[in-house]
């Protein structure tokens, strides 16, 4: 299980005056579940592309600093390992799922990475079926990939990454076109994989209300920089940063901040303040506690 160290990373696309990433410093421990969010154009996808090697292997530009993968065998810079070799550790879902699909039939698409990484063919059927089930597309197994709806294509791309069960999963807005049911199911599967197999998950998402209860760390980006990062309960205290960046504060946290404003709760940084609720359930419990005067 590699640890990821992003060391003073800056990147500028060719012929652009502003850097898409500016001096990013971030360490991701093996088995961490990291959610990255931020405004459109903040540099989230660019950051993911630096981790999975698309930058610099496919995307030209000016790169400074480096991303390192650290295993017990040693430490290597992503830019110095060939992309296929990176695929042994890293599975990616791009922000453009349609552009990622290379096979004509859904099941072949899922099998593709398994074949490349030398998985025993006798295991494939089961792994394919499992990944399809997890993404709710078992009925599309024999379907042509170019005749799917947008959300179905996105599910195929996710299933293809899940089937590989790599040590690091990188997902760029994987639920942007999924229905609410599918979104919940996919995020649930990710969190299970992370919990049971200790897989590192790095996910860019706008739906932080769903991710806050699942992730270990929440990272807020703006204009190429990391503005705020930490455990979700800690990050969600800084409502002003969210407002400033135009990022939605999840409803449970918003309720708490409003309660502080109403004087029903002490300021969040005072010693006796309760933790920020992450789910509707937690918000309910908090309200109930307040009403019954605990």
């Amino acid at each position: 299980m590699p640890k990821i160290t992003i060391d003073n990373l800056s990147f500028a696309y060719p012929d652009t005056s502003t850097e898409a990433l500016k001096e990013i410093q971030l360490t991701i421990e093996p088995g961490e579940f990291v959610a990255i969010t931020g405004a459109t154009g903040a540099g989230k996808s660019t950051l993911l592309r630096c981790i999975n090697g698309i930058i610099p292997h496919f995307q030209p530009g000016t790169l400074q600093g480096a991303v390192y993968l650290e295993t017990s065998a040693g430490r290597s810079a992503v830019g110095r390992v060939s992309t296929p070799h990176l695929a042994r550790y890293i599975g990616s879902v791009f922000d453009d799922p349609e552009g990622q699909i290379v096979s004509p039939i859904v099941e072949e698409e899922i099998a593709f990475a398994l074949e490349n990484t030398g998985v025993d063919p006798t295991q494939m059927d089961e792994r394919i079926q499992h990944a399809l089930d997890d993404c709710g597309i078992a009925h599309l197994r024999q379907h042509p990939t170019n005749r799917l709806s947008g959300g179905q294509k996105q599910r195929v791309a996710i299933a293809a990454a899940l089937a590989l069960a790599p040590s690091i999963l990188i997902l760029d807005e994987p639920t942007s076109e999924l229905d609410p049911d599918g979104t919940e199911a996919v995020l649930h599967v990710l969190s299970e994989l992370h919990r049971q197999r200790g897989i590192t998950v790095i996910i860019v998402e706008q739906k932080i209300n769903l991710l806050a209860p699942l992730c270990d760390r929440l990272v807020l980006m703006d204009q190429g920089r990391i503005v705020l990062e930490g455990p979700p309960r800690q990050v969600l205290r800084q409502a002003d940063v969210f407002t400033q960046l135009g990022i939605e504060l999840p409803v449970p946290a918003r309720l708490m901040h409003a309660l502080v404003k109403e004087g029903a709760l002490p300021p969040l940084d005072s010693p006796g303040a309760p933790p920020v609720p992450l789910t509707v359930d937690e918000a309910y419990t908090l309200s109930q506690a307040l009403l019954t005067g605990s």
Binding site: N52, G53, I54, H57, F58, S82, T83, P84, H85, L86, A87, R88, I90, G91, S92, F94, G99, Q100, I101, V102, S103, P104, I105, E107, E108, A111, F112, A113, L114, E115, N116, T117, G118, V119, D120, P121, M124, I128, P144, N146, A160, L164
Partner: protein, 252 residues
Amino acid sequence: MSLSIEYIPATSPVHKLHALTKLAGALTVLTLSMLMGTPVPLVILQLALLGIAAVANVHQELLGAMKGLLKVAVVLIVLQVLFYSEGTALVPLFAGLAITDQGILFGVTMALRMLVIVSSFLLFLMTTPTRSTVLSLVEYLKVPYDYAFLFITALRFIPTFIEEVHLIRQAQEARAHDFSGGAFSRVRSLFPLALPLVSISLKRAERMAMAMETRGFGLPGRTHYRLEAPEAGDFLMMLLMVLAVVIISLFL
């Protein structure tokens, strides 16, 4: 009519053939059409291709493409007829040029040859997924996969281009661009896009390489979910192809 030439998934005997067999088939047709210097055998060859297309259930697409190619064929014939000077003059033209019987024959042969060659490659592309072609080139012909990609990009360039044109046409129509002026206005409205189109098509090929590599394509020790190895039928077909070339070159 849609002129979108893409892989059309189906479970026909033609689809089942190995990519290499079909590639060899297309090359055989290419060779045969070069050997044939008169219209009749070429027509027979074209009919045979249509027959195969019918078996593969892609005849509608092939007929659609042939309709488009017919326009190119007419241009070819006209050019040959105008500038071919050998043979008996049938109709004298200006500047010492004349329409000759051999000119017509030659023009028609050229046009048919073009039709046959393009059809055979389209047939190959419509019944073979790109991925299978790259795989077989790499696995069986030991082509380094950079070159395999180069080859497939070149081969698929026209179809990718046509797909792109198709998408753009939909996007244009959906924003009130009127094509009612017919074929000419269609071509003209795409003209300013010629350069971006080429770059879009190339980018697509690159995106495919990226998608494949980030999923480990190129690692040693590849396994196969469904083994895409040539089977007895494939070897039989290839044998028939060699025989066809030999026999036909003896008789022509």
